[in-house]
């Protein structure tokens, strides 16, 4: 061997010490030896990363696109006027949704009425376009209010525990015993019909799942060390809850809320179908289906198909978006685990 090794080997046995692995040699070395792993050192906030993940999910984006289109159609279907001032003057809908036209009863879909007409001659396409307003607003408002009730209550229950927790959770349990629709129906029967009554009934039913979910998350999040650290620094409870605990516990609730819009729309439509929704005759999709039922036997299928299709499309898109939100915010990954080594 042509090297100049200064190794010695020994025949002795006993406790060993290794010398000569001189790490100071690294400082004088030429840079060629400093091979670095390519790494990205850009740190981004959790929400930015979630958004990036969401953007890559094509089905979720498709859902979002569909909702955007529906929103657009619904806003521009008929003019919107607030306090007499016309904010939105456009009218995409070919006919006035409330205009009866007794000359064109129950017409099948045609060029002038692409979705046909109903029992009183009203154009179904226009009604479907306009009716989206009810569903969308009911969905969003209900979930919004339910969140603002359920999240604080759930957070308080989870954070403080004790009897506060017990009381709130018993309340949740009691309300949970009543199925969604049954409770809503019972409430509407006493409160009466109408837009805000329906929203009240729906909110009362929906907030409980957010409260429960958030409470569960808070229970595990509050054990984390950053919470203990905040307490040690003397932060006030309210500040700890809303700045540290809730943001970290929110992820599943956000997913649930997104999907919840779909559930609320479905149930609002069900109420409409049962005749318990808004004023009779409103172009709300569910209500349109209840009159469709009677005409179905006579073969006027368009009265049933198109409004239902609208509901279906909206709920489907919301679910796609909701699933996308879930994958973005809480990625467990389907091919996850120790990819392959199982």
């Amino acid at each position: 061997m042509s090297h100049e090794s200064s190794r010695t080997t020994t025949d002795q046995r006993g406790r060993i010490r290794v010398t000569g692995f001189d790490t100071s040699a690294f400082e004088d070395r030429d840079e060629r030896f400093d091979w670095q792993q390519e790494e990205s050192t850009v740190s981004r906030s959790r929400w930015t990363r979630s958004w990036e993940r969401f953007k890559r999910n094509r089905t979720a984006l498709a859902g979002l696109a569909i909702i955007a289109v529906m929103l657009f159609v619904t806003i521009f279907a008929r003019p919107i006027a607030v306090e007499g001032i016309t904010i939105q003057p456009f009218s995409l809908a070919p006919f006035d949704p409330t205009n009866s036209n007794f000359g064109a009863l129950n017409e099948a879909p045609s060029a002038s009425h692409p979705f046909g007409t109903d029992w009183s001659g009203k154009d179904i396409l226009s009604r479907v376009m306009y009716g989206g307003r009810y569903s969308l607003t009911i969905g969003v408002i209900t979930v919004g209010i339910a969140l603002s009730v359920g999240v604080p209550l759930g957070a308080i229950a989870g954070y403080y525990g004790g009897w506060v927790d017990e009381v709130i959770m018993r309340l949740v349990d009691i309300l949970y015993a009543f199925p969604f629709l049954v409770l809503a129906i019972a409430l509407i029967s006493v409160l009466g019909q109408g837009f805000w009554n329906m929203i009240t009934a729906l909110v009362l039913v929906v907030w409980i799942s957010y409260a429960r979910l958030l409470r569960g998350e808070v229970l595990s999040v509050k054990e984390n060390e950053y919470v203990t650290a905040a307490k040690a620094l003397g932060a006030r409870d309210r500040s700890i809850i809303f700045r540290h605990v809730v943001p970290n516990a929110m992820a599943p609730v956000i997913v649930q809320a997104t999907l919840g819009i779909g559930t609320v729309v479905l149930n609002a439509a069900a109420l409409g179908f049962l005749g318990l929704g808004l004023e009779p005759g409103s172009p709300e999709w569910g209500s349109m289906l209840s009159s469709g039922r009677d005409t179905l036997i006579q073969g006027y299928w368009w009265v049933t198909v198109f409004p239902g299709l609208a509901i279906f499309l909206f709920v489907l898109s919301i679910n796609l978006v909701g699933d996308g939100v879930r994958d973005a915010v809480d990625p467990q990954g389907d091919s996850g685990g120790n990819a392959g080594v199982r």
Partner: protein, 316 residues
Amino acid sequence: MSLQRYLIKRLLVMIPVLFGVTVLTFSLTKMLPGSPVDFILQFQETTPGLREQLEAQYNLDEPVYIQYWLWLRDAMVLDFGDSIISDRSVTGAIVGRLPKTLLLGGAGFAIAVCIGIPLGVLSAVNNGNTIDEVSRIGALLGIATPNFWLGLMLMLVFSVQFGLFRVIPPSDVGVFHPSMLKFVILPAITLGTASSALIMRLTRSSMVEELNKDYVRTAKAKGLSERTVIVKHVLRNSMVSVVTVAAIQVAFIVNGSVVIEQVFSWPGVGRLLIDAITQRDFPVLQAIVLMIAVTIVFVNLIADLLYSWLDPRIRY
């Protein structure tokens, strides 16, 4: 903690919940603006004696908590008074309709479970490939479809177009009569679809999570067959989640049957409920709501007991 102690503990917790449920149901009439009697009479023809009957029924001259107690006492022996509309006893009316609803609900639940769980398992095991994708898309469609619309569509296609199944409701046919099958099949499918989609999704995600766990690796390293690993080891661990979602589906199916009974003119308790609302028949309304809520509370109790039997760690 042993199973018995857990059961007792759960029963104790259940009591305040049941109490709250009865209070809430009772207070429905208290939420009305004004007296319930006046409210009801707005919508009814005031026949002689009706006002007196109602006033006797509602005990309005007593303090609120006495009213509650009287109502509750009667409810416990299933005496809900008489229906305003039909003059029959409320309990009698409900009991008459109950079998058909149970049949429909049971069939729907059976469909949901028998389709949902196997599909979920299949999907989880075939994670990522075509079978999985197809099942997931199917589940998504099932969830998004409004059940009443599905019912109407099915009626349209099968009954009106093809004349296969009956549209006319089975008022005279007994529940156990074999010809009931062709009546119940369309409504049951309608009812079970959304539930099966939810069950399938949850079974799938629960199993996928379990499949990534270490004990699966140990089981494989022992040389057990694929089938044993999945059914004996993985599915068993997923069962807690599946039981949770199945219990929720009971409530879901109750929900659904109210609407589906309307779609198919099915002579069950759901129809009775809707009629009671439109006619402001409060005794019937309260009785049905109470019955449903109490059933759900007991279903949840059974679910909790099932958990502790399924997972030995949950016997806290």
